[in-house]
C-alpha cells in the first residue's frame, strides 16, 4: 500500500496533496468567509492539477472552468454582496457542537481509514490507458453510452436556472 521508493512523481503529489489538504483545513478554520472561499479556490485549483496527474485532462480543465471560474466566483459575489449591506461578521461563538463535531469527524476519518486498509490492496495500479481523459474519448462516451443521463442533467440545469431566477426576482 505504501510506496517502495521515492519518485519525482511522488514528490509532486506530496506537494500538491499537502497544499490541497492545508487549503481544505483553511476553509473551515478561517473565520472570514472570503478567506475560506479563497482557500477553497486554491484547493480546487490544486485538485485540477491532481486530475491532470491522473490523466483526466479534460476534467481537470473543466474543474477550473466550472468550479474555480464559475462556482467560486458566484460564492465570492454572494459573500461580498451580503457584506456590502451588513459589514458585521457573523459571530462564530463556540458551543457544544464544535468539539463534538471535531471528535466525530476524526472518528469517521479513523473508521474509514481502517476500512481502506482492507479494501485497497496491492492489486490496484495505474492501468487505464493513457489517453482516457482526452476530449475525444470523454466526448464519445458521454454522447453515446451516457446520452440519457446527459439529457437529464441538461433538464436539471435548466430547472436550476429557472429556479434561481425565480428566487432572485422580486416581481415575476
Amino acid at each position: 500500500m505504501l510506496p517502495e521508493q521515492i519518485t519525482p512523481g511522488l514528490l509532486v503529489f506530496a506537494a500538491m496533496g499537502g497544499i490541497a489538504a492545508l487549503a481544505a483545513l483553511g476553509v473551515i478554520l478561517f473565520p472570514n468567509a472570503v478567506r475560506s472561499a479563497l482557500c477553497l479556490v486554491l484547493n480546487f485549483f490544486v485538485l485540477a492539477g491532481l486530475y491532470f496527474t491522473l490523466g483526466a485532462e479534460l476534467l481537470g480543465i473543466t474543474q477550473i472552468v466550472v468550479y474555480t471560474g464559475a462556482i467560486m466566483v458566484l460564492f465570492l459575489f454572494v459573500i461580498m454582496l451580503l457584506n456590502l449591506a451588513a459589514p458585521q461578521q457573523l459571530n462564530e461563538k463556540g458551543d457544544i457542537k464544535k468539539p463534538l463535531g471535531v471528535v466525530m469527524g476524526l472518528g469517521m476519518l479513523a473508521l474509514i481509514l481502517a476500512q481502506l486498509q482492507v479494501a485497497i490492496g496491492k492489486d490496484f495500479g495505474p492501468r487505464s490507458e493513457a489517453n482516457f481523459g482526452t476530449p475525444e474519448v470523454v466526448g464519445r462516451t458521454l454522447f453515446t453510452l451516457y446520452a440519457f443521463p446527459l439529457e437529464i442533467v441538461g433538464i436539471l440545469l435548466v430547472v436550476g436556472i429557472v429556479g434561481s431566477i425565480l428566487l432572485a426576482k422580486r416581481k415575476i
Partner: protein, 429 residues
C-alpha cells in the same frame, strides 16, 4: 517549405533537454509581452488623442515615444501607500493574480508553423484552457475590490464578477461554434484548418473563419466579449471613474497599480492574439493559398514562392501585426462608444449575445450535418434558412417582451440593492 529560421533553429533547439526547450518557449512568449506593454501604452495614448483631435504625449523623446518609460520611472519611485484596516494578504496578492492569467493565456497561441518554438504547449484542450485561465482573471479584480476595504472598490469588484461570468458564457459559446466546425480544441489545428479552401469550395482562398458566416457571427460576439473580459471601455464598469472613482484599484498605488496596468494591457494583447489565431487565420499573411495560385497562374509562380517563403519565415511578424490590429480595434472602440449602463450590460450579455451565440452553435451543427450528407451548397442554404427563422422568432420575442414589459427598469421588475437602502432606479428615456 523550409525557411532560414527553421534551418537555423530546429536542430539546435530540439537537441536541448526537454525542460530547457519548454523554458525557451515560455520566454519567447513572455518577453515580447513584457517588452511590448509600454509600447502599447504609448500607442493607445497617441491613437486616442489622434482620434480625439488632440496631440497626446509629445514631450519625452521623439513623438513622446519615451513617455511610458517616464511613467514607469514615476510609478517606481512613488510612495507606496497601504491603507489601514485592510485585509493585507488579499490586498497584496490581488495584483499578482490579476497579472497571472494575462501571461498564462498566451501559452497555447501559435506564433508560426515552427512547432519546436511555439506554442508553449500545444495541448489537446487549447481553447478550453484559454477559457479556463481567462475565467481566473476575475479573481484579481474581485479580491482587489474586497481587500481594499473601500465601498467603491467593493462595488467595482462586485460588478466585475457578475460581468465577467456573464460574458464568459457567450464567449465560450461563440468559440464552441468554431470548435464544432474544426472538430478540435487545439489551437494549431484550428489555424491549420483555416488554411483549407474557403467554404470548402473556393480553392484559391483560405478558410479564415471570419469569412465564413458562422465564423463572422462568432467573431463579432467574441470581440464584444473579449472587450468585456478585459474590462475595457465601453465595458469598464468595474473601474468607472465617474461613478466609482477608479473602482477596484482605487486604493492601489505605485508598483501595485502598475502591475494592474500591465495586466490589463497584456490581457488586451493576448486576447487580440487569440482572436487573430482563431478568426484571422493565425500567422498567415493573406487569405490566399499560394501553392494553388501558382498552379493556376504559372506566370505568378515566382511571386507565390516568395510569398510562401515570407509566410514561413516572418510568420511571427504577421501574427504581431494582427495583434496590433486587434489592439487598434480596442482603442477605436474605446474612443467611439460611451460606457454602458449596468443593466444594459447585463441585458446585452444575457439576452442578445448568449442567444445569438447558442443559435449560431446550433446552426453550425445543422450546417455540418446537412453539408456532410447533401453537400456544401445545401449546407449553407440550411444555415441561412435557420438563421432567418431564428432572426424572425428572436425579433418577435423581444418586441413582444418589450411591448409587454415596457422599457424602464421598474417596469421590467429590476431593482437594485445598494447598501441596505433599497430604491427603484427610474430611467429617464
Amino acid at each position: 517549405m523550409r525557411g532560414i529560421l527553421q534551418i537555423l533553429t530546429e536542430e539546435w533547439t530540439t537537441s536541448l533537454p526537454g525542460w530547457v526547450q519548454a523554458l525557451l518557449r515560455a520566454l519567447l512568449l513572455v518577453l515580447p509581452l513584457l517588452i511590448l506593454v509600454p509600447g502599447l501604452i504609448w500607442l493607445e495614448r497617441r491613437l486616442l488623442s489622434w482620434m480625439q483631435d488632440r496631440i497626446g504625449p509629445n514631450r519625452v523623446g521623439p513623438k513622446g515615444l519615451l513617455q511610458p518609460i517616464a511613467d514607469g520611472v514615476k510609478l517606481f519611485f512613488k510612495e507606496d501607500i497601504t491603507p489601514s484596516h485592510i485585509d493585507r494578504f488579499i490586498y497584496f496578492i490581488a495584483p499578482a493574480i490579476a497579472l497571472f492569467p494575462a501571461f498564462a493565456i498566451g501559452g497555447t497561441l501559435p506564433w508560426g508553423p515552427l512547432y519546436w518554438l511555439t506554442p508553449v504547449a500545444d495541448v489537446n484542450i487549447g481553447i478550453l484552457y484559454m477559457l479556463a485561465i481567462s475565467s481566473l482573471g476575475v479573481y484579481g479584480v474581485v479580491l482587489a475590490g474586497y481587500g481594499s476595504d473601500n465601498k467603491y472598490s467593493l462595488m467595482g469588484g462586485l460588478r466585475a464578477s457578475a460581468q465577467l461570468i456573464s460574458y464568459e458564457l457567450a464567449m465560450g459559446m461563440s468559440l464552441a461554434a468554431i470548435v464544432l466546425a474544426t472538430g478540435s480544441l487545439k489551437m494549431t489545428s484550428i489555424v491549420y484548418l483555416q488554411q483549407q479552401p474557403l467554404w470548402d469550395t473556393v480553392n484559391i482562398l483560405q478558410n479564415w473563419f471570419i469569412f465564413t458566416p458562422f465564423g463572422f457571427i462568432s467573431a463579432v460576439i467574441f470581440l464584444i466579449c473579449m472587450v468585456a473580459e478585459t474590462n475595457r471601455a465601453p465595458f469598464d464598469l468595474p473601474e468607472a471613474e465617474n461613478e466609482l472613482i477608479a473602482g477596484y484599484h482605487t486604493e492601489y498605488s505605485s508598483m501595485k497599480f502598475a502591475v494592474f496596468f500591465m495586466g490589463e494591457y497584456a490581457a488586451m494583447f493576448v486576447f487580440s492574439g487569440v482572436f487573430a489565431a482563431i478568426f484571422l487565420g493565425g500567422y498567415n499573411l493573406l487569405p490566399i493559398r499560394w501553392e494553388v495560385l501558382s498552379e493556376l497562374a504559372p506566370s505568378l509562380a515566382g511571386f507565390c514562392r516568395f510569398m510562401e517563403w515570407m509566410n514561413v519565415n516572418f510568420s511571427w511578424l504577421w501574427f504581431l501585426g494582427k495583434c496590433a490590429f486587434g489592439i487598434c480595434v480596442y482603442i477605436w472602440i474605446r474612443a467611439t462608444l460611451p460606457r454602458l449602463r449596468y443593466d444594459q450590460l447585463m441585458s446585452l450579455g444575457w439576452r442578445s449575445l448568449l442567444p445569438i451565440a447558442v443559435t449560431n452553435f446550433m446552426l453550425v451543427a445543422l450546417w455540418m450535418v446537412v453539408s456532410r450528407v447533401y453537400g456544401p451548397a445545401n449546407g449553407w442554404i440550411s444555415y441561412f434558412v435557420g438563421a432567418i427563422i431564428f432572426a424572425i422568432g428572436y425579433s418577435n420575442v423581444t418586441s413582444a417582451s418589450r411591448r409587454a414589459k415596457g422599457d424602464t427598469l421598474e417596469q421590467r421588475g429590476i431593482t437594485m440593492t445598494d447598501g441596505g437602502a433599497r430604491r427603484t432606479i427610474e430611467v429617464i428615456k
